[in-house]
Assembly symmetry: C2
DNA sequence: TAAATTAACTTGTATATACAAGTAAAAAAT
DNA sequence: ATTTTTTACTTGTATATACAAGTTAATTTA
C-alpha cells in the first residue's frame, strides 16, 4: 500500500502557503487606523490624515487608501466630509451590541467586569435551538458558556454563548474573565466577525434571569438572540443576551 | 435703492444648476438594483448579473459597478462571493427597524396597515427632547405625528415622529396612510437617510401605550429612540417607537 | 475695512488597466 | 468510469490618472 501524492509544483505550493495568510494592503491600513482609534491615538472629532498623506505615509495609491477608509466609515469609526476630511466619530466603540463588536466593547471597557457563571464546556447542541443549524455544526458539538457582565458592579448583561467546535483547539481551557470573547477569537484563532442577524424582544424576567440581573420577577428585560457570521467558512457564533435596561439603554449606530 | 447682483458667469451658474441634482452613475445603478430587489425582480438566492455584464449593460467601468455593488452589500441587499458572484440576501427588507429603512419596510409591506393617530402638525419642539437639538432645529419648529402600525390587524408599533421643519414644503398636507415616511421624503424631497443612532430599552407599558398596543399595563414593551441623519445638512429625523414584541421579534442584520 | 476672488487644500466620481484568487464546468488523462 | 487537469468564468486587490466639487484661508479688490 502506498499513498498517492498529487502531482504538484512544490515551489508553487510554498508560494501559495506563504501568501495564504497575506493581508491585503488596504486591510492592513484599516487595521492600523482602527487600532489607533481604539487606543485613543485619534480621538472623537479628530481629523485623520488626509488621503494623500496616508498614501505617502503607507506607500499606497489613493484608491487603496480610500478602500481602507470606506471600511472604517461603513463600520462607523469615521465619517467622511467632502472638502474637509475624515473625522473620527464620537463613539465608535459603542456600536457594540447592535453591530459587529462584542458586548465588552459595547460599553467602552471601562467599568465592565465579567463573571463566568458556566465555564466553557463542550456539549451537544440543544434540541430546539434558536437558529437552524447545519449538519457540520450539529456533528461537531457546541462550546457553551454563560457569563454575567457587570457595569459599575451592577449586573447588566447575562450572556449565553454557543460556538460550533470547529477548528478552535484548547478554547475551553482559556480564561474569559474580563476579556472579550471576540478579541480572543480574533487574536488566537484569526476568527473575525463579518456580520450577522439578531432578533430583539422585550420579555418579562424569568426566575433565573431576575436572580442574576437583580430584578423583580416579571419586570421588562431586553432579550437578544444573535447569529454572527465569521470569515471561517461554516463557523457561526450564537448568543442569547438578557439585558437590564432600567438604568442603561442599549446604544447603537447604523 | 437697488439690488446689487453678484458678478457671476451665468452660463457657469446654469451648468452648476443643472448638474446640481445630477446623480452619480454608481448611485443610479445602486438605485436600479435596489429597486429590482425590492420589487422581487431578483429574489433571495438569485445571482445578480456579473460585474462585467453590468458594465456592458449600463455602460460603466468595473470600479464604478463595484462601487454600486459594495453599497448594496454594505446595506445587506446582496452578499458577494469571490469566484461565484453577487447573491441576493434572504431578507433585505427586514433590516428595517435596526438599520436605514423605515418600519414599513421592516416587515415587508405585506400585511402592514398604518393608522394615523395624530396628523402631521407643526409644533414647537418639546422642552425636554430625547436628543440634543441645534439652534436651527429649535427655531424652525417641529413636524409632529403619531402613527399606529398594525400587522395582520394587530397593533405592533406605536410611532412618534419628529422632523425639523427645514425645506419640507407642504409636508403636513401629505397623506401618510400605508406609506413609508421615508419613501415620501425620498421621492418628494430627495431626502435620503444616511445613518443614525438609537437607544433601545425594555420598559413596562404605560397607560397610553398599553391602550394603543392592546397590552396589559406594565407588560414589557420595546422602546426605541432614534435619531436619523440625512443627506440634507442639518436635517435629522427623530422617532420614538414602542413595539409589542409578544408575537413578533424585531429582526435585524448587521 | 469689508466684500469678493483666488488658491490650496480636502474628498467624490470615473476611466483604463493588470493580475491574483476562488469557483465550477468542460476537457483530458488515467 | 473516475480522477485529474485545464479552461473560462467569477470577484478581489492594486496602480495610475484625471477632473469635479466642497471647504477653508489667504489674497486681492472695491
Amino acid at each position: 500500500m502506498y499513498i498517492q501524492v498529487k502531482n504538484v509544483n512544490f515551489t508553487e505550493e510554498l508560494k501559495i502557503m506563504l501568501n495564504k495568510n497575506r493581508i491585503p494592503q488596504y486591510k492592513k491600513l484599516y487595521q492600523i487606523l482602527r487600532k489607533h482609534v481604539d487606543e485613543g491615538i485619534y480621538r472623537q472629532g479628530d481629523l485623520l490624515p488626509s488621503e494623500n498623506e496616508l498614501c505617502q505615509l503607507y506607500g499606497m495609491t489613493r484608491p487603496t487608501v480610500r478602500q481602507a477608509l470606506s471600511a472604517l466609515a461603513n463600520e462607523g469609526y469615521i465619517r467622511k466630509h467632502q472638502g474637509k476630511g475624515s473625522i473620527v466619530t464620537n463613539m465608535p466603540r459603542d456600536i457594540g451590541i447592535l453591530s459587529v463588536s462584542g458586548t465588552t466593547s459595547a460599553v467602552g471597557d471601562r467599568n465592565l467586569r465579567t463573571k463566568i457563571i458556566v465555564k466553557p464546556v463542550l456539549i451537544p447542541w440543544p434540541q430546539e435551538f434558536m437558529f437552524p443549524l447545519s449538519d457540520i455544526e450539529r456533528e461537531s458539538g457546541c462550546i457553551y458558556m454563560e457569563r454575567l457582565r457587570l457595569l459599575d458592579d451592577e449586573p447588566i448583561f447575562y450572556d449565553i454563548s454557543y460556538i460550533a467546535n470547529i477548528n478552535l483547539p484548547r478554547i475551553t481551557a482559556r480564561k474569559f474573565e474580563n476579556r472579550s470573547l471576540f478579541k480572543i477569537l480574533r487574536d488566537h484563532y484569526q476568527v473575525e466577525i463579518k456580520g450577522g442577524e439578531q432578533r430583539i424582544k422585550a420579555i418579562p424576567a424569568s426566575a433565573k434571569i431576575s436572580r442574576y440581573l437583580k430584578l423583580k420577577r416579571g419586570s421588562p428585560v431586553l432579550h437578544l438572540e444573535r447569529k454572527m457570521e465569521t470569515n471561517v467558512n461554516g463557523l457561526y457564533l450564537y448568543s442569547s443576551i438578557y439585558c437590564n435596561t432600567h438604568k442603561y439603554s442599549i446604544f447603537g449606530r447604523f
